[in-house]
Assembly symmetry: C2
Homo-oligomer: 334 residues x 2
């Protein structure tokens, strides 16, 4: 018996049950009576939401990420921990890797602790786009505790998502390359995550809108390792391209290393764009034009929403999309 | 009343008290009786060590680091979390920053949770070398729970340290530069942490052994930001140097950017070495020669020792020094 069941049996939303539990005056008396009756009937103890209010709360938040050694994810966890600490919350950290079974195990572990909320860091938790059954463990988690997803979208009750507008960002950068006369734009990617799918869709839409085909041979999937990317590209003897749209800075730098070995001038002979505007983008030479997806804003939004949910606020947005912007440096001529 | 007091009052080590608590047969009957008598007299409940054994344990380890967005630290936490998860332990993560007061607050927070051990990630926790009173909060923590320090040395009961041989690594690289005829070797550093002090000592010793002075003007302290380092070096119009020994890859890449603007060829006109062998060292151009301090070994050692302490093993080493090695790439001619 959990808050989800109470909501279902009362015919109201989880947020409404939360408001009843928290004594909000924004609920009609009729609704309040109905919810309280169901709660009494079921012997339901409203621990999940009460916790967030400091009643029976351990003031502990579970943070699950695939790999904390990834610069983007480490930066997100740094932002989250910093704000959570200010509000008096501790963080239990789980690093699940990218495999669904391992994600389930790690999530179970976090849920078995007395956490007030679960924050998922990374697009990988929004599935691979093929089999949405993969997400059932997240829906189950959301029945026990509010779930906040950073950089991906899962639609479901008690799940709050915040992500950059990756479609538009890649659409814009691809269109810019087309405007500069680029004909063979390589899409360089390392996953099929929610974010990666949005980026691919942006790339394809820009080509289609310009009347170009989106050729499969120009969608290149590889591992997220600089030298690996370089070597994979060098192996493709017949693959020609005059520009690269990469979904991560690390991939873009692999392309930069490739261009150097091939004796291509950047950006004169080949334009390259990265993603995440990481420290790597200023460490390389020439320095990398990269999409900034405003990670700090995404993290701030998740924490803001979390605090609102804890306070039983109405209308906490289930999804928030934040525009990205292109940080122009020296690997493009725009 | 804690295990430390019991040890003191019994006139034995914490490890011996732990062995008594755990029923080890490696303790003489005489000692056992003495310890048990003290425990009974004080009404001591042996929770700390019992926890590690699964008795009354939350199977939770506190990990305190200054900044998880630092690549070196993030990599360490990734290694630690991975192994801890395998042994069934969860991680509570605290990010304290570099200020002593904030470190104390974060440590108190972690200790107030039921943690089985505390892992400190980063040389910063071993103090600034000037005021060792700064370390009293760590000695106090060690009276409550075993403390494991990665990449630094604090000597004290119930504190176990594992660190790279930074002195030797910088001694060797400085000596190599001297052999190559370098006369003005810039030491580029961003802190006064334990590790930074060992590196400085190695630099100075190599110069002294070669009969060179260790000039203060060539010990350059700056922030750990690529462009900041570059700009600070450009501002020093009168500072001349023919090589750079940096205590972090990020600093070294700042020097690389400086060299590019000054039109110096690397390594012909200037040799540059970094530290930590991070992803940045292969992202830059030319790729950076960097000291690898075997972070994974340091983390593995900490976990191995932790498990031994939990099992009440004798002779768990209080300090372990692991040799570093130089990963040679293109910013040096050796």
């Amino acid at each position: 018996m959990n808050i989800y069941d109470v909501a279902k049996m009362s015919g109201v939303s989880i947020a409404t049950v939360s408001r009843v539990v928290n004594g909000s005056d924004k609920v009609s008396d009729r609704t309040k009576q109905k919810v309280l009756a169901v709660m009494e009937e079921c012997g339901y103890t409203p621990n999940v939401f009460a916790r967030g209010l400091g009643l029976d709360s351990m003031k502990t938040i579970g943070i699950l990420c695939p790999d904390i050694s990834d610069a983007f994810i480490a930066q997100a966890v740094a932002f989250l921990e910093n704000r959570l600490h200010k509000y008096g919350y501790d963080c239990i950290l789980g690093c699940s890797g990218y495999d669904t079974e391992a994600k389930k195990v790690h999530m179970e572990r976090l849920l078995s602790k007395r956490i007030d909320a679960l924050i998922l860091v990374g697009s990988t938790y929004a599935g691979h786009g093929k089999d949405d059954n993969n997400l059932s463990y997240i829906y189950e988690a959301a029945q026990k505790t509010p779930v906040f997803l950073i950089n991906g979208l899962i639609e479901g009750e008690n799940i709050y998502c915040c992500y950059g507008d990756d479609f538009q960002a890649v659409y814009d950068v691809t269109s810019e390359l087309i405007c500069r006369g680029k004909k063979r734009i390589l899409f360089l990617c390392d996953s099929y995550s929610y974010s990666a799918r949005k980026k691919l869709a942006g790339y394809e839409a820009a080509l289609t809108d310009a009347g170009y085909p989106a050729l499969n041979e120009l969608k290149f999937y590889t591992k997220n390792r600089i030298h690996y990317v370089r070597d994979m590209l060098l192996e493709q003897k017949d693959l020609e391209f005059d520009s690269v749209v990469a979904t991560d800075d690390c991939l873009a730098i692999g392309a930069l290393k490739y261009a150097k070995i091939k004796g291509m001038r950047v950006p004169e002979d080949i334009c390259i764009t990265g993603y995440n505007n990481s420290q790597l983008s200023v460490g390389c030479e020439p320095e990398l034009t990269s999409v900034d997806n405003h990670l700090e804003k995404l993290c701030d939004n998740a924490i803001d929403n979390m605090l609102k949910v804890f306070q039983g606020e109405e209308n906490v947005p289930a999804k928030t999309e934040i525009p990205c912007n292109l940080k122009k440096r020296c690997t493009t001529d725009f």
